[in-house]
C-alpha cells in the first residue's frame, strides 16, 4: 500500500485507484467471511473483525476507492492550473494511501492503544493532505487542525492510560489488558470511578476528531482549504472512525458503570452539535465550509442516536453513519468539480451548473436533497428512525432536533438552488469529470432509503446488538 511513494508521473493516479481497488476487494472478501463465519482474530488477537467494524471496514474501503476514482480527473485539472506540482502530487498520493491504511488499522485493531496510535497517525497524514496547496490559508487550516487535534488526541491518550490502569487490576498486565475483547469480557468488574474519568477524557479526545461542537473549530477550515478529495475522505471516513472509537469506549463504560452516563454525555454534545451546525450553515459563503458544518450537524445526530442507546436508536445511528458518509462524499465530489469550473469556492459566484454541466448540477441537487433528508433517500430513513425514537425516549429533545433540521434545510436549499440553476458564463472543464462515484453513492443511498436488503439489515442489527448490549 505504501508503494504509491514511487510514482509521481501520469500513472500514479491510476496506481492510486488500483491500490484502493485492491483494498476494497480485500475488504469485501473479509466481509463475506465475517458474515458467514462470525468474528475473526489475527496475530495473537491483536487484530479482530466483528459485525461492528466489518461494516465500517467495507464502507471505508468503498469510499476510499470512489474518492480515488474521483481524484484522478480532479488532480489533473489542478495540475494544469499549477496548483499541484509533481512533488506535491507524489506527497498527495503517498499520504492518501497511508491515510486509508491508518483508517483500516484503527478499525481492525483489537488494542485500544493501537487504536490511539492509528488515530494520531491519521491526523498526521491528513495534516499533510490539508496543507498540500501550501497557500497561507491552507497552512493556517493545517496548523490549527494539528494543534487542536493534537491536544484532543492527547486527552484521549490520558483516557487510554486510565482505562489500562482500571483493566490491569482485573486482567493483569500480562493478559493483554488493552485488548478490547478481553476488556469487554470483564467490563462489569472494572472500577467505575476510574472508568468515569477515563471515558470523560476519551470522549473529549475522540470527540475533537468527530467535530463535536465546542471542539469543532478545525473541521470547517480543514475541509475548506484542503483539496476536495481530502474533504470527502475527512467527512466520509475520518469522522466515522473517530465515532467508532467513542462507541468502543462507550460499550466498556456502560458495562462498568451500570448507569447511562456515557449516553447522556453523548446525547448532550450530539444535540449541541446538531443545533450549532445547523445555525452556522446559513452564515457560510464558502460552499465547502457550508457542507463541513453540515457534517458537524450530521455527526452530532449520529452521536445523539448512539447516546440514546437501545437497539433501534443504535441501528438508526449506524444507518445514519453509512448514508451520511456516502452522501457527503458524493456532494464533495460534485462540489469539487463545480468549484474547479467556477474557479472559486464562494457560493455567490458559482451559478448555473445545470446549464453547462448538467450531470454535475443534478448530482449536486440530488446530493443536497439526500443530505437534507428528503423522503426517498436513506438519510430520511435514518433521521426518521432517530426522531421517532427520540419522541419515545427523550421527548424534550424532539422539538430541538426538528428545529435544527428545519433550519439546515432552509439554509442549504436556498444556497444550492441558485448554484444549480441560474445564469452562467463559465466554460466546461477540460477533462471529463468522474461522476460515476457520485451516482453510485447516491444510488446506494437511494437504495438504503427504499429498501434495506435483509442481509444488510441483519448485519446492522448484529452490530447494534453489540453496542447496545441486548
Amino acid at each position: 500500500m505504501l508503494l504509491a511513494l514511487l510514482g509521481h508521473r501520469g500513472f500514479a493516479r491510476d496506481l492510486n485507484v488500483a491500490f484502493s481497488l485492491a483494498t476494497f476487494i480485500g475488504a469485501c472478501g473479509l466481509t463475506l467471511r465475517v458474515v458467514s463465519e462470525g468474528p475473526l482474530f489475527a496475530w495473537q488477537r491483536e487484530f479482530f473483525i466483528d459485525p461492528l467494524n466489518v461494516f465500517l471496514v467495507a464502507l471505508t474501503a468503498f469510499v476510499a476507492l470512489t474518492t480515488a476514482i474521483f481524484s484522478r480527473p480532479y488532480m489533473r485539472v489542478e495540475e494544469e492550473r499549477g496548483k499541484m506540482t509533481p512533488r506535491r502530487l507524489r506527497l498527495y498520493h503517498a499520504m492518501y494511501q497511508l491515510f486509508s491504511f491508518t483508517m483500516l488499522l484503527a478499525l481492525t485493531t483489537n488494542n485500544i492503544g493501537i487504536l490511539w496510535v492509528a488515530m494520531e497517525a491519521a491526523t498526521l497524514t491528513t495534516v499533510l493532505l490539508v496543507s498540500v496547496y501550501r497557500t497561507a490559508a491552507s497552512l493556517e487550516a493545517a496548523w490549527k487542525y494539528f494543534i487542536l487535534c493534537g491536544v484532543g488526541i492527547a486527552q484521549a491518550l490520558f483516557g487510554t492510560v486510565l482505562l489500562y490502569m482500571a483493566a490491569e487490576k482485573v486482567v493483569g498486565a500480562e493478559g493483554g489488558a488493552l485488548l478490547w475483547t478481553h476488556l469487554e469480557a470483564v467490563k462489569g468488574q472494572l472500577d467505575p470511578q476510574i472508568i468515569t474519568l477515563a471515558f470523560a477524557f476519551l470522549f473529549v479526545g475522540y470527540g475533537t476528531k468527530i467535530g463535536l461542537v465546542p471542539l469543532h473549530n478545525w473541521l470547517p477550515d480543514a475541509h475548506a482549504e484542503g483539496p476536495t478529495p481530502v474533504s470527502a475522505v475527512l467527512s466520509g471516513l475520518l469522522l466515522n472512525v473517530a465515532l467508532y472509537a467513542v462507541l468502543r469506549c462507550k460499550v466498556l463504560t456502560d458495562g462498568a458503570l451500570q448507569a447511562p452516563l456515557a449516553g447522556q454525555l453523548m446525547m448532550g454534545f450530539g444535540l449541541l452539535s446538531v443545533v450549532t451546525g445547523a445555525f452556522f450553515l446559513s452564515r457560510q459563503r464558502d460552499v465547502k465550509r457550508m457542507f463541513a458544518y453540515s457534517s458537524i450537524e450530521h455527526m452530532g445526530l449520529s452521536t445523539f442516536a448512539f447516546g440514546m442507546g437501545g437497539p433501534v436508536a443504535t441501528f438508526a445511528g449506524l444507518l445514519h453513519m453509512t448514508v451520511h458518509s456516502l452522501t457527503k462524499s458524493a456532494i464533495f465530489f460534485t462540489v469539487g468539480h463545480a468549484a474547479q469550473k467556477a474557479g472559486t469556492q464562494v457560493m455567490d459566484e458559482i451559478r448555473g451548473l445545470v446549464r453547462v454541466n448538467p450531470t454535475i448540477g443534478w448530482g449536486l441537487m440530488l446530493g443536497s436533497l439526500a443530505i437534507l433528508g428528503m423522503p426517498p433517500f436513506g438519510v430520511f430513513a435514518s433521521e426518521f428512525l432517530i426522531l421517532t425514537t427520540a419522541m419515545k425516549q427523550e421527548p424534550w429533545a424532539t422539538p430541538i432536533l426538528l428545529l435544527a433540521l428545519g433550519v439546515a434545510f432552509a439554509a442549504i436549499f436556498s444556497r444550492v438552488q441558485p448554484m444549480v440553476f441560474g445564469e452562467t458564463t463559465a466554460k466546461r472543464l477540460p477533462h471529463p469529470p468522474a461522476l460515476l462515484p457520485v451516482f453510485t453513492h447516491l444510488a446506494l443511498v437511494l437504495m438504503l432509503g427504499i429498501f434495506i436488503p435483509p442481509y444488510l439489515a441483519d448485519w446492522y442489527r448484529a452490530a447494534a446488538q453489540l453496542i447496545a448490549g441486548h
Binding site: 498526521l124 497552512l139 472500577d191
Partner: protein, 219 residues
C-alpha cells in the same frame, strides 16, 4: 519497598512539576528548549527508577526511547530550527506571567483533587504522583493556549506528551510495548511535520507569530 526509591520517585515528580512551572514563566525560546530537555531527562530518570524498583525490564526500554527522542533528538532539532529561523527573541505571552502562575496553581489543585481518589486504587509504587502527572498535562495545555508563537506552542505540545508518559508510568508502569513504540513514532513524525510547517509558515508570513493565522474565522 525500599523507602529510598519512593523518596526518589517523589523527588522526580516534584521536579517535573517545578519544570512545568518554569516553562510557563520562561520567556526566552532557547531556555525553554533547555527546560524541555531537562524535563525529558527527569522523566527518563523516574522511569528508570520505577523500572529498577519493580524489575520491569520494558520500562528501561521505554526510558531509553524517551532519552533518545525527547532529551537528545527533539531538542537538537528544535535548536536547528530556531538557528535557521533565528527566533531567539523573547516570547510574548497573552496573559502576564504572574497571572499565569496563579492560574497554574489553581490547575494543580484541581488536578490533585481529580486524581486523589483514583490514585488510591492504583497498584503502582508511583501512585502518589498521578496528580502531578495530570497537573503537568494541564499546565502544558495552558502554555499552548497562552503562547502566540509557533515554537513555544510546539514545546507545550511535547511537554504535554511528557506529562502523559509520566502518567502512564505512575499509574500502570507504562503502556504495553507495541503501544509505546507506536506513540514514540507518532511523536517523532509529528515533530518533523511541525518543523517543516514552521519553515512554510515563515515563508508565507515572514514571521512565526500565530496571530497571523487568524484569517479563517466565522464572519
Amino acid at each position: 519497598m525500599n523507602p529510598l526509591v519512593g523518596q526518589l520517585i517523589n523527588l522526580f515528580a516534584a521536579l517535573m512539576l517545578l519544570l512545568a512551572f518554569a516553562m510557563i514563566s520562561q520567556r526566552r525560546v532557547l531556555t525553554l528548549i533547555h527546560l524541555f530537555a531537562l524535563q525529558g531527562a527527569t522523566l527518563v530518570a523516574c522511569t528508570a527508577v520505577v523500572g529498577y524498583a519493580t524489575s520491569q525490564s520494558h520500562l528501561y526500554l521505554s526510558a531509553g526511547i524517551t532519552l533518545a527522542l525527547k532529551v537528545l533528538l527533539i531538542p537538537w532539532l528544535l535548536h536547528r530550527v530556531i538557528n535557521r529561523l533565528s527566533v531567539r527573541w523573547d516570547v510574548e505571552t497573552l496573559i502576564n506571567i504572574p497571572t499565569m502562575m496563579l492560574i497554574g496553581i489553581v490547575l494543580v489543585i484541581f488536578a490533585f483533587n481529580i486524581a486523589a481518589p483514583i490514585a488510591q486504587l492504583s497498584s503502582s509504587v508511583a501512585r502518589g504522583t498521578l496528580g502531578i502527572a495530570l497537573a503537568c498535562v494541564l499546565l502544558s495545555f495552558m502554555m499552548m493556549i497562552t503562547r502566540s508563537k509557533a515554537v513555544p506552542q510546539v514545546i507545550g505540545f511535547l511537554s504535554m506528551e511528557n506529562g502523559l508518559f509520566f502518567a502512564a508510568v505512575s499509574a500502570t508502569y507504562g503502556m504495553p510495548m507495541v503501544v509505546e513504540l507506536g506513540i514514540a513514532l507518532d511523536v517523532l513524525v509529528g515533530i518533523l511535520i511541525l518543523g517543516v510547517f514552521m519553515f512554510q509558515i515563515r515563508e508565507q508570513f515572514d514571521s512565526l507569530d500565530i496571530r497571523h493565522l487568524e484569517k479563517l474565522k466565522e464572519d
